[in-house]
Structure formats: structure tokens, C-alpha cells
Amino acid sequence: MSVKKISKTQPELFEFTQDNLKKVRKEIDKYPKDRKASAVIALLYLVQNQNDNWIPLVAIKYVANLLNMPYIKVFEVATFYSMFNLTPVGKYFVQVCTTTPCMIRGANKLTTICKNLISKNQNELSENKLCSWMEVECLGACVNAPMMQINQDYFEDLDENKTKEIFETILNDQFPKPGSAKNRKNNAPENGKTTLLEVKNA
């Protein structure tokens, strides 16, 4: 589960950037005028993208005013969905899958590296405040286990060295290349194709 505790340190101001405002307009336009509130999840997502993966209270008020909703209704939505964070989680938010297939393939090694390199406990910011990590349930990439998600991207087929490498990159404030560590295309067999050999793009 995500962090539903409300952060004690809150920014004083939140406003969408011009780019995001355009996206906001687009989202709101999808719904009839008197059903503006339907765009609330999309807007909260935009807030999170803009604000280092978390939603401050000012942003809740800001979204509520944009959509003409009572604060509590936006707050309800933000606390309901586990993908919304109400505490800072860092610019690089690492979610390590620890459900059965990943666990069998060594997810525990990944969490140990998280503990060593990022922070001792889950949901805790690293020393340079750039990232945090947490264990999550199945992210639906079992074929490429073990895996983790950083912000919007999947990092698959991980081993200890590759994970360390990724963490060192993000701790240096750079975004690593997502995808399989074994350079697999999507979830193709590890040792090359065995069937459908005659089909080119299979």
C-alpha cells in the first residue's frame, strides 16, 4: 500500500504549469460541463507527475477549486487510490514487486539492495532526498521477474549488479534506460525464439 499519511511539511503553493494546464483543459473537456468532477483522477495524476510523485494538500484544494468540488471529495479520492502519494517519495519513486513469481526469482535480493543503497526502511527518502522505495504487490510483469517500477517505467529481468547500477544512476539524478536488463524484447523467450520462426515480426 502507498503512503496515506499526510506529510507534515507542505509546500505553500501549487499551480499547474502551462503545459499541464493544457492537458487539464483536455481532460475536463472530455466530460459534460456539469460533470467536471469526473476529471478528478486525471488531474490528481497530473499533479503527481508535476510534483515529484506526490500530492500536497494545497494541490488538493487547487484541484477542488478547478473542478468546483468540495475539498473532502477530492481528498477522499486521493486517499482511496494507492497510486496517489500524500507524502514526498522523491523524484525517483521505486516500487519493487515482491509477489510470488518475483519473489521466487529473487525479489528479496532487490529489497536488500534498496535497504543498502536508498534507505533503511520503505517509504523513507534517501539521504539526498531524491528517491524512496517500497514493496508492492504484483505489477503484472511476472514473465520478466524480478522487476521493479521507477516512476512510470518498468525495469525487468533484474539481478543484483544491474539493480545496483540503476540505483546509482538515479541517486545521481539521472534516469536509467527502462526495459529488460537482458535486452529481451518485451517478454520474448530468454534464449531466442523457439516457435513461429517463419513469422518475421512475431
Binding site: L57, M69, P70, F75, E76, F80
Partner: protein, 679 residues
């Protein structure tokens, strides 16, 4: 009408009913927590499960619409087992603290677990822990007891119009809270206490005061505003412990305002329990005999013209009638007044000072025009009706004078009397809309009738409505919103002094210092200088009136006597005695009888029955009077400013109440409601 078969019994039901309602028609009681007649359907407690033919699983009857030919069973072992299962889940996290819970004895969960609860729990894990939430000075929370029925959320959003409550988190982490735990900003907030089926939301002022079975319950009438909400007063010995709403579909449905509910602790404080006389500037205790004799001695010093009487806001008809009879027949004075300020009244016919469309009628209306009134504060329950009409029929509401947030959208037209002139001449767009609507309502508040403009506003709007045929038997669009419980009754009993040309004769005389002796009958909202006047105060509380009085006679408060009240619609209602007056205090009509006896003059009545007969006679006289034309009135250019109202401090009882003071403090901090505007 469609038919449904419930437990092999065929019954007819109305289209649109749910299975639960149909079961009730059939006389089957269905247990429920989340379902409530006056709120939207949530269907989340699952307690109302019943068996339906062809359905593999039991269904939630509160959320299932009844249809023709449905076969429902409510008494099978499957239903029983299903409900027991639901109850076991509900009790899994519910603490076993009934012995220390205030809801004990009137708790839905307690009652229903008697039938569906297991004798012991199979749940061995530790129970859910939830922090206590702050919801203001009225609502005490104990959220571990919450079963997430969401009745409180639905009430706040739908009826009160203050979407401040919500459920955060989900699953086991779901919690009911206000946004960042601020106090609930509604005058109806305490109704969630009655709605809560468990002890999660209980009354803070009543916490640990008494058990429901120890209390004497008296069904009576509220006097905090002119609506006349039906209430039940629970008393323990002399003390009034709490006030609860009573269902009356025509008036308050089943809600009451916070002021009605929590002013009752004011009945214990600041009470006058013995006659007092002012000697050398200090009030001294004395006996009835001495006080009354002194009073008569003083009266004899003045001419009838110099003697005046003012009737207070909480007076019942017995009080007003005996007071008037004492003044007219014994003192030979006509200087009586029920108003406390220059508010225009036209008592020639009854429709001129009552709420003709009826509170119930608001729901049928298709257009409402508020003139100089803030119904949210002046008549909270009536405002809830307007909101109900808005939610149900999306009716348009307009206002002359800025009322602020009324919990529903209201178009502000401006705040000058010239808008009324425009409406009359037809140059304002509202004019056409009123003419086109079938059942318009025009509500005139005290602020619009105040001062010189009052006559113009009232008479011209009345003739406008008359011209457009809106003053008929079946629909009368003219409504005056009184704020005081005694007002309509006092006008019915003619406790005013006006002349054809001067509506404010009494006040002119008062401010010209023509009165030398003033008898205040529970009138505390006074705004005149004492100067050399001799003042007698008769009432229940040591408030503004008692402060300037030379003689104080202790009377009974509204819960301490039987009394008749006429509410703003002109409905006569009877209040019953729940407690008795403290110390030497007496019921007010007895005091006037004693006074006449001491003066050796015969009063019209000897006992309460005779008094009641006389009252009914004169009220009936008034009801049958109608069809009196008025002449044209001159235009008065003036601003209609809605007078700011100190909602929690309107009468001596609420001013004496500690709970009301707390509410007042908090309401001052938050100026806006719902979507907070200033932050």
C-alpha cells in the same frame, strides 16, 4: 398497481418502491443500518438481505427496486444465516464497550444483535483502531465504533448541503472525517447524532449525562425560532437533559437545528428563581407578596397612557392573552407591543403576517424569491426545505439583499428597493418569470419590513401578487418569515399598537420618552434607553431585560409550562410541561391573575381551561377575517440590508447556554462553508 409476493402473501406496492419498502408494507420488519427514508440509498451495510426467487444469492432489499411478480422471502433459514454472517462481520471490529457507550439503550446495532448476533466472537485478531476525530463542539466521536454506514456523509451532503464529511482511505483503513478535522459548519450538524445507528457520533454536551430509560420524555414544541419544530424533551428530575426531534412531515420532517437541540443547557443557568427588587441600585431578594404590592403601588402613580408593555420572543398564547387582558381590562392601557423594533406589520387580515405557502408547500413551488431574508439563520428548518426543493426540482431561487451562502445556489438581484419597483413595472426579468411560474413563493424577511421601506415593500408586492392571481385559496405566494416563536400568536391576539397612519406608534412614543412605566414580558431584545422609566421584568432568565429592571418577577421557561404556540405558518400547536419552574418562579398567567386579585379587580378567567377557551375564541376571530383592500403606497428608495444575525445568541435561553457560546465562538472563525473561500 403492481403486485409483489412477500412470504407467500401477495401485496400491492407503488411503482418505484424498493423491496425493503414493499416488505414494510407487508408488515415484515427488515433490519438495516445504512438505509434511511430521507437519504439516498447506499446499500453498503448488507444487513437487509432477503431471499429472492431465482436469485442464487440473497439480495440487499434496500437497493433492489421492487418489480411485478417478484417473490421475496424474509423468514427463511438462508436469510437468517446471511444476516447473522453480516452481523458477525460488523461486530468483528466493533468494540465491546456498550456499558460505557452513550448510545447504549438506543443503539440499532445493540438492538439488532439481540436477534442476529452470535453469543461469542470467532474473531481473535486485534480490533481496528481509529483515532478520535474532531467535529466541533456538538459531536463527540468514537470512531472505532463506526460501521461505515455513511448516513452522516449522506446527510451532510444531501440535506444539510454542507459537503464537509467524507470517507478517507478504503477497506479496513476507511475512516469518516471532516476535511482535515475542522468543525462541521452547519446549523443542522447535530442531526448526524440521531442518524448514527451506533455510538460513533454521540452528543458531546450530553456525554455521560443519563441513560435513555431514566429520562422522562415529553413531546412538545420548540420556541427557538418561529418554525415551531416538534421536539421531545428528555428530563431527569427538574433538569432538561436533552432535546430530540419528533417527526412532523408538515414542519420539521425529522430534523431540528442545533440551536433547538442544544440551547437546553441554558435552561439551567442564569435562572430567575425569586422575585427581586432594586434598592439603591442593587437587586434584593424579596417575596412575591412584597414585589407584587410594590408593583401595584408604582402602577398607581402613572396614568394609563404612560404605561407600556412589551411581549417577548418566547411567549406562549396564555402569557400574551393574560398580559393583554391585564393591560386592557385592569390597567386600561392600550400600549402593548410584541415587536422589538420598527418592523412593519399589517394585521388587518391573517395572510399578511404568516407563511401562507406552508413549509410543506415549498416542495411544490417552482420559483422562490427571497426579499431581505437569510432563511438559513432565521428559520434553519425552512431553509432545509428550500434546499430539498432545489435538489428535487432544481427550482430557481432569487434574492433581493445578499444572504451569503444558503447551502443552495441563489441568484443575487441587488439590494435596493428600486428592484421591487422594477418588478412591479415589469422591467425586471424576474417579473416575467414570476408571472409565468405556476407556484411562486415570495418570502419577506424582517430586514425587508424594517423601517420606512417596509410598508412600500410589503403592500406593493402584495398587490403585485394579487394582480397576478397568486393570492388564492389553493396557492398563496405571499409569505412573511417571522423569527420569533411568539410573533404570529401575538399578532393574532392583537398585542401591538399601531394606528392607520403610523405603524410604529409604540416606538415613537417609546423613544420620545412618553412611557414612564414599562412592563417587559420576557422581552430581552430591547434597544431603548432606560432614563427615568420604571421597568418591571417578568421572565425566566437574568438577561438584558432583568439588567435594567426595577422589579423582577420570575416566570417559567418554555419547557416548564403547558402552552399554545402559533408557528410562522399560522399553525396552532400545543407545548407540554416537561419540567417545573425553579424556586419561587411561577407560570406567567398565574402572576397576572394574582395581580388582578390583589388589585381587587375581576379577571376574565379563573383557571387555565377558561383562559384557553378565551384564547381559542380570539384566534378564531382572526382566522376568519380576510379580503381587506389597501390603498396605494408611495415608493421609498432605500437599501435592503439583511441584518447580521447572531445565530447562536438570539434569545435569553440560548444566551445563557454554554454550548451555544462555544458554537458561536467557532462559527466566528469560519465565515464560509462548503467550499471554503478564504484560506
Amino acid at each position: 398497481m403492481p403486485k409483489i409476493i412477500i412470504n407467500n402473501k401477495e401485496i400491492e406496492f407503488e411503482e418505484g418502491m424498493t423491496v425493503l419498502q414493499a416488505c414494510e408494507l407487508a408488515g415484515e420488519e427488515i433490519p438495516r443500518f445504512c438505509y434511511h427514508e430521507r437519504l439516498s440509498i447506499a446499500g453498503n451495510c448488507r444487513m437487509c438481505l432477503v431471499e429472492m426467487e431465482k436469485s442464487p444469492k440473497p439480495i440487499a432489499s434496500c437497493a433492489m427496486p421492487a418489480t411485478e411478480g417478484m417473490k421475496i422471502k424474509t423468514n427463511t433459514s438462508l436469510v437468517d444465516k446471511a444476516r447473522k454472517g453480516v452481523m458477525e462481520f460488523l461486530l468483528a471490529n466493533h468494540p465491546l464497550d456498550c456499558p460505557v457507550c452513550d448510545q447504549g439503550g438506543e443503539c440499532d446495532l445493540q438492538d439488532q444483535s439481540l436477534f442476529y448476533g452470535l453469543d461469542s466472537s470467532r474473531y481473535t485478531e486485534s480490533k481496528r483502531q481509529v483515532d478520535e476525530k474532531y467535529m466541533g463542539p456538538l459531536i463527540k466521536t468514537q470512531m472505532t465504533r463506526c460501521i461505515h454506514c455513511t448516513r452522516c456523509i449522506r446527510f451532510a451532503t444531501e440535506v444539510a448541503g454542507i459537503p464537509e464529511l467524507g470517507a478517507t482511505g478504503r477497506g479496513e483503513d476507511m475512516e469518516i472525517t471532516t476535511y482535515l478535522e475542522k468543525s462541521m459548519e452547519s446549523e443542522l450538524s447535530a442531526n448526524v447524532i440521531d442518524l448514527c445507528p451506533v455510538g460513533a457520533l454521540t452528543s458531546k454536551p450530553y456525554a455521560f449525562e443519563a441513560r435513555p430509560w431514566e429520562l422522562k420524555k415529553t413531546e412538545t414544541i420548540d420556541v427557538m425560532d418561529a418554525v415551531g419544530s416538534n421536539i421531545r424533551v428528555d428530563s431527569y428530575g427538574w433538569e432538561v437533559k436533552r432535546v430530540l426531534p419528533r417527526i412532523n412531515e408538515d414542519i420539521n420532517e425529522e430534523w431540528i437545528s442545533d440551536k433547538t437541540r442544544y440551547s437546553c443547557d441554558g435552561l439551567l443557568k442564569q435562572r430567575l428563581d425569586t422575585p427581586l427588587i432594586r434598592e439603591n441600585g442593587k437587586l434584593q431578594k424579596t417575596s412575591w407578596d412584597i414585589a407584587l404590592k410594590l408593583l401595584i403601588k408604582k402602577i398607581n402613580l402613572f396614568k394609563p397612557d404612560q404605561i407600556a408593555g412589551m411581549v417577548g420572543d418566547l411567549a406562549d398564547l396564555e402569557m400574551i392573552y393574560s398580559f393583554k387582558s391585564f393591560f386592557n381590562n385592569i390597567l386600561r392601557s392600550e400600549n402593548l407591543e410584541c415587536r422589538n423594533d420598527r418592523i412593519y406589520i399589517n394585521p388587518k387580515e391573517r395572510m399578511n403576517y404568516i407563511f401562507n405557502s406552508k413549509i410543506n408547500g415549498i416542495e411544490e413551488s417552482d420559483l422562490i424569491l427571497l426579499v431581505g431574508t437569510n432563511p438559513r439563520l432565521e428559520a434553519t428548518i425552512l431553509n432545509a426545505r428550500i434546499r430539498k426543493a432545489y435538489v428535487k426540482n432544481q427550482i430557481k431561487i432569487y434574492s433581493i439583499g445578499d444572504p451569503g451562502d444558503l447551502t443552495y445556489p441563489c441568484e443575487y438581484l441587488g439590494s435596493s428597493t428600486s428592484i421591487i419597483k422594477e418588478i412591479l413595472s415589469g422591467s425586471n426579468k424576474i417579473s416575467e418569470k414570476i408571472k409565468k411560474s405556476k407556484k411562486p413563493i415570495i418570502i419577506l424577511g424582517e430586514s425587508s419590513l424594517y423601517g420606512e421601506k417596509g410598508k412600500y415593500i410589503f403592500e406593493s408586492l402584495k398587490s403585485f401578487l394579487e394582480e397576478n392571481n397568486f393570492l388564492k385559496e389553493d396557492w398563496n405566494a405571499l409569505n412573511v418569515l417571522s423569527q420569533q416563536a411568539s410573533r404570529v400568536g401575538a399578532i393574532d391576539l392583537e398585542a401591538y399598537s399601531i394606528s392607520e397612519e403610523n405603524n410604529f406608534k409604540f416606538f415613537d412614543k417609546l423613544h420620545n420618552n412618553e412611557f414612564k412605566f414599562i412592563y417587559l414580558l420576557g422581552q430581552d431584545n430591547i434597544n431603548f434607553e432606560k432614563n427615568d422609566k420604571f421597568i418591571v421584568y417578568q421572565g425566566s432568565h437574568g438577561d438584558k431585560g432583568a439588567e435594567i429592571a426595577d422589579i423582577i418577577l420570575p416566570g417559567a421557561a418554555y419547557t416548564e409550562k403547558d402552552g399554545l404556540f402559533i408557528n410562522l405558518e399560522g399553525k396552532l400547536q400545543r407545548a407540554y410541561k416537561a419540567s417545573y419552574p425553579p424556586g419561587d418562579a411561577r407560570e406567567d398567567w398565574v402572576i397576572f391573575k394574582d395581580l388582578s386579585n390583589i388589585m381587587n379587580k375581576k379577571s376574565e378567567y379563573n383557571n387555565i381551561q377558561k383562559l384557553k377557551e378565551l384564547i381559542k375564541k380570539s384566534v378564531n376571530l382572526k382566522i376568519n377575517k380576510n379580503n381587506i383592500k389597501t390603498n396605494k403606497v408611495d415608493f421609498v428608495e432605500e437599501n435592503i440590508l439583511i441584518k447580521p444575525m447572531d445565530y447562536y445568541y438570539t434569545n435569553p435561553i440560548s444566551r445563557a447556554s454554554k454550548v451555544m457560546s462555544e458554537c458561536r465562538q467557532i462559527s466566528k472563525k469560519f465565515l464560509f462553508t462548503g467550499v471554503e473561500k478564504a484560506s
